[in-house]
Every structure is written in structure tokens, then in C-alpha cells.
């Protein structure tokens, strides 16, 4: 076990630091809508032009194929430079759709989409959740009826982040009539400009519209847009779950170590006070989340489901850090501001991408081997 860098890695780190210093936009990202899309795409294009996009993607697909060590170095420099959040509207394309296409896509799908994603020319969203299918994703009902060389999609998705500013959607639908649960699903590339699609942005509790409802009314999608085979969508969706070990989610985890320093700076607690005790605990946990991020990225062989441990630790710590910020701000928190905005946004941390309760079930059943609970 070691955390020692070769001179080339040190040079890489310093190079990243210099580049970020010169290139991180001075203006903060707009919170929503098309300005946020333009901002994110421009930033990604700038990253791409200097060889900083698709870090984890293999070189064959235009990525950088960075080693886990270098991913960590880059992301640490990234968060310390306060570069634009990696959880913006390019996140799904770079960290989910792209890797899924690399793993399961056809040649045509790959050559068309991968460069567009890397170069900052297309935005993707994810259409998995439905009004009746959240934690229980396998109960989804949106259908795709095969009709010649098309599927005809009818139904509704919800909570699809950035759907209203996206070009494409990874859409999970039931293509085999009469199928149940995780059988008979397909993972489809849906062009968001197709006729029959209606998108309604939904405002979140922080007062901004990041996610949307999407309605499909006889939307005709060519069969060639299916990724990973007809009726095999669950497997396609699961493939990408395994990729999450070394994605930009790491930046969020590492960012807590920076945020806690900013909070300590804001609070400046006297030693021995209750505030100092609370901040010390938060700071220690942020250090541990960083250590877990290192471990998840670097330890071989990877232990399956360890991702749940770090993700949940991250999510709950993020919430506590922001709650503490609001406590420290006192009445000042009643007016809008960066900490307050992030505080409200942080409520999603234990809901989006699998709720805290579901993560705990996974930890208990898959890691600790406790008896499974009843399933539908």
C-alpha cells in the first residue's frame, strides 16, 4: 500500500493545477436553463481542447485512459481550484451514457455519439424513473411496441435531470409485451427532438428547474437505437453501474474536503466550543470520505458494492455540512446565498440515484449477507 508519486505524476499534478488556474471560468455557472447548457458545453469543449475530457474513457474512444492515480490527482486539483461542478448537465453523457455505449453500443452508435459527447457537442439525460417506478425501478411501465424497424414508445418518465436541455436520453422501457420486472426491457437512445415527446420542467425545492417530466405519445424510435439488444435493457443498465467506481462522482466526494475548510473559515470557532467540536467531527469525516474515495478507486480487486458505502457516507456528510452552515449563518440563512442554495440542493443527496434506505438495504444484504427482504 502506498501513496507515493512518480516524478511524472507530480508533473501531471502541477500541470493540471496550472491549467485549471488559467482556465477555470471566473463567472459562476448559471443555475438553470439554456445559459447553464451553454456554460457547461463551453467548459467541456475547453477541457476537451486541452485533453482533459473523457479522463476514464479508453484512448481508443478518444478518452485519456488515465490511471486511477491520475484521476484522483486531476479531481483533487479540480475541486481545490473550485472548477465548475462536475454534476452539471454533461454528467450523464460523460459518466453514464458514454461508458454504456463503449461497453454495449454498436459501431455506428459509438462513432456517432462518443465524439459528440467528448467534444462538448451533446447533452444527455437519463429516463429511468417513472411516477410509479422509483426505488422499484423494475416495475416501470413505459412501453415500446415493435412496429417494423421501429419501436413506438408510449408512457411517462419523471425526475429526468436536464431533460429539457438535453439532446438525447437513455430511455429504459418495456419492449416485450406481458413481461414483468427486469425482463423484457430495452435501453434505447431517444432523440429528444422526436415528434410525440413533451417535456415539462419541474422546479425543485431550491427554486431552480434541473429535472423534468417527459411524456411519450407514439414516439417512433428506430430499432437501431437500441443499445445492448432488444429486451436486454436491464443488463445494459446494470453494466454501467459497475463503471461508477471511477467517475466524476469522485469529485463530489473529494469536494467535501474543500467545502469543510470553507465552512471552518466561515465559522472561525473558538477552540473547545460546541461549534469547534461539530466542525472537527465533520472535518474528520470529510477526511475519511476522501480516504474511502482513494480506497474505492485504487484497491484491487474491487470489492463489489463498496461503492454504496462511500456514496452513502458522502451523501449524509454533505447534508450535515450544509445543515451546519445554515446553523452558523443563523438568520442570514433566510436570504438566498451560495451556502443556502447548496443546503437546499443537498436534500436530494439521499434520494437521487437510489435513496439512503435502499443503499442501506444493499449494504446489509449484499455486503453483510443479511437475509433479503420480501420482493415484489
Amino acid at each position: 500500500m502506498m501513496l507515493e508519486l512518480a516524478p511524472e505524476d507530480v508533473a501531471f499534478r502541477l500541470n493540471a493545477r496550472d491549467w485549471l488556474k488559467a482556465n477555470v471560468p471566473a463567472a459562476p455557472a448559471p443555475h438553470e436553463g439554456h445559459p447553464s447548457r451553454e456554460y457547461a458545453l463551453e467548459w467541456l469543449a475547453r477541457l476537451h481542447a486541452s485533453g482533459w475530457s473523457g479522463l476514464a474513457w479508453p484512448a481508443d474512444y478518444g478518452g485519456q485512459g488515465l490511471s486511477p492515480t491520475r484521476m484522483i490527482l486531476w479531481y483533487e486539483e479540480y475541486v481545490r481550484a473550485r472548477a465548475p461542478s462536475a454534476l452539471d448537465c454533461t454528467f450523464v453523457a460523460l459518466n453514464h451514457a458514454g461508458p454504456t455505449l463503449i461497453a454495449c453500443g454498436t459501431e455506428r452508435q459509438k462513432t456517432f455519439h462518443l465524439p459528440r459527447i467528448l467534444e462538448g457537442r451533446s447533452i444527455w439525460c437519463q429516463g429511468f424513473s417513472e411516477p410509479g417506478a422509483g426505488s422499484d425501478l423494475a416495475s416501470l411501465k413505459t412501453t415500446g411496441r415493435v412496429d417494423g424497424d421501429h419501436i413506438v414508445v408510449n408512457g411517462q418518465k419523471i425526475w429526468s435531470s436536464f431533460a429539457h436541455i438535453a439532446d438525447y436520453q437513455e430511455l429504459l422501457i418495456r419492449t416485450e409485451p406481458g413481461s414483468a420486472r427486469n425482463k423484457g426491457l430495452s435501453w434505447v437512445i431517444c432523440d429528444m427532438t422526436l415528434p410525440g415527446i413533451t417535456i415539462r420542467p419541474i422546479c425543485n425545492m431550491a427554486g431552480v428547474s434541473h429535472f423534468a417530466e417527459v411524456f411519450y405519445d407514439d414516439v417512433r424510435i428506430p430499432l437501431s437505437e437500441i443499445v445492448g439488444g432488444l429486451h436486454n435493457g436491464w443488463n445494459t443498465a446494470m453494466t454501467t453501474l459497475g463503471i461508477e467506481r471511477r467517475t466524476a462522482a469522485m469529485t463530489l466526494q473529494l469536494e467535501l474536503s474543500v467545502k469543510i475548510e470553507e465552512l471552518i473559515d466561515l465559522a472561525r470557532p473558538a477552540p473547545g466550543t460546541a461549534a469547534a467540536e461539530i466542525l472537527s467531527d465533520l472535518r474528520a469525516e470529510a477526511a475519511a470520505v476522501r480516504a474511502m474515495t482513494y480506497r474505492t478507486a485504487l484497491r484491487e480487486p474491487a470489492t463489489p458494492f463498496d461503492g454504496s458505502l462511500v456514496r452513502l457516507s458522502y451523501a449524509e456528510l454533505a447534508q450535515r455540512i450544509h445543515r451546519t452552515a445554515v446553523d452558523i449563518l443563523g438568520a442570514g440563512a433566510l436570504a438566498e446565498g451560495p451556502w443556502v442554495h447548496d443546503y437546499l440542493e443537498s436534500y436530494s443527496e439521499t434520494i437521487a440515484g437510489g435513496t439512503a434506505e435502499i443503499q442501506r438495504n444493499i449494504i446489509a444484504e449484499r455486503i453483510l449477507g443479511l437475509p433479503r427482504e420480501a420482493r415484489a
Binding site: M1, V258, L309, L368
Partner: protein, 328 residues
Amino acid sequence: MSYDLTPGEELTHILYAAQSLLDANYPLDRLRDSAHVDGMAPLADFGAFLLSLPEESGGAGFSALEEAHLHAALGRHLLAPTALASTLAARIALETGRDGLAQAIASGETRVCAGVSTRNDHFLFEPDGAAMAVIRTDDGLNLVGLKDAEMEPATAMGHGRPLSRLKDVRSVGNGFKADEETARLHALLTSAQLLGVARAARDLAVDYAGTREQFGRPIGSFQAIKHHCANMAIGVEMVSAQLDMAAIAVRDGREDAAFQTAALARLAPRVALQNARLCIQIHGGIGFSAEADVQLFLKQAHLLRNYLGATDFLSLPSPMFPLAKVPA
């Protein structure tokens, strides 16, 4: 070289050997007798007290990393803090140029117990037969002789393991003060033992949750119990990842060694206490009884937390300070 957190072969070997020693000599049920005093001979023979001392000082030449993992294993078996004290005492003796004493301590010939001395309370843990003690005070660690110590037996928390109260703390003198490096090792290894306690509590709880049945099903199928177990696993993972981070930083003399160790020392007692508490809850009535081992974890966590003491963590610079605020 690049970062790699895969445990090496050497570490795996040491832990394997240590585990059979611990199973053979320190089974948990030895503590059903509250007067039991842990003998140190098996550990001394194993070389446990000089594992990370350099070979030219008679040590085994391993690093703080192997030593930390060894102490996590000792923690699982609720070893008396005598093992910690002996390891630290050998270091302090060497630092202060007392090589012969260091040898006597490492070989188990001179027994060294652990103690704490705060403003109002001065305790020694399992002092029977100990010639010296490593006492944690509010301003550091001291190796003291017990020849003139004025002490009396005290009843430990919940009638737990043997404890004595020093009647007059001046009777042991100031002794030799540990340097910064040894103080850091103290925090690292005591935290490692707390991790061991947290792991043991998690495993006992998970075992019980999988076998104890109520309402016709294992209680581990109930989500409330499952989530308690998940919380225990999360705590263990946090502390164990941070332990590696801190142990590597200490081993390599990294700049962030103080920060990483202090973060670990902040986290480890909290998680050990949490897991001990949840383990009791998951066991129901038997968890509350003194006839089962469950309650031992809680008492050990309290003991180790006090041996660890507190540091002013916020005063230490973070390796992740925002770049804009780093002075050029």
C-alpha cells in the same frame, strides 16, 4: 510509482500469523472472569512490541502500517491496553537512550501497563505485576516507574476489567515524555484498536441478526435491524480507510501525517461507541446481560477513548485546503 492501496503480501502474512496467536491465547470468553489479567508473553514472543522498530534497534523493521493493522487485530480481541503501553514504552525507552530497558520491555520481562491522568482522575489499567506505566495526560504521554506508586484498586465501569486509582499522581514522578512521533503512533495504534472493537461489534451483531428468529424470521430480515447493521458497516469502512491513510502518512513521514492521524483519532472512538451501542440493541435482553460478551465492546471503547485523549484538530492544516487560500 503510483498510488496503490492493495494490501501487500507481507501484511497479509503478519495478520494471518497474528490471528492464530490471538485465537489461541486471547479468546473473548477469557473476559467472562472480570478479574482476568491479560498476559503479555505470547505477544512479546511474537515480537508485537517492536514490530515497527528499526532492525538496528532490535526491532522487526516493519512499518507503522503493519503495526496499525496488527493493533486493529488486537482490538478485535479486546486486548488490555497493556499491549499498547508496552509498544509505546519500548519506543520511549529507545528515544531516551535506554536501550536495555527497551529490550526488557519488548521481551515482556518488564511489564508496562497503561494509565490516564486527567485533572481529577488518575487511573492505571491492569497494573498487577507492572513495573512501569505509559500514562496519557492532557499534555502528552509519559513513561513512569511504579516503584513508589501509591494506588488502590478501584471498581471499573460496570464492574469491568481490573483498574486502580493512583492516590497521589506525584508518587509516580514525571518519567520520560514521549516525543511527537511516538505520540502520533499512540494515536494511530489506539485508534486501530478502536477500529478492531468496532469490527468485532459489527460482526457479532450481523451473526446474531442472521440467526436469532422472531415472528418466524431472522431478525436480520427486518429493516430496522438491517439498517443498524449497515450503519455499523459504514462506520467501519470510514475508519478503516482513514486508518490506511493515516498509517501510510506516518510510515512515509508525509506532511499530512498529523492531520490524517488526528482525523482518525476523532472518528475512531465515535464509531467504536456507536457500533458497541448498536450491537447491544440488536441483541435485545441478552445484550444487556453481563453473561454475554456484547457489553465488553462498549466498556473497551470507553477505555480506549480515554486512553486516546483529544487533540485540537482544527488547528492542523488540511491537505485539501482550497488553492485560492494557500499562501504562494
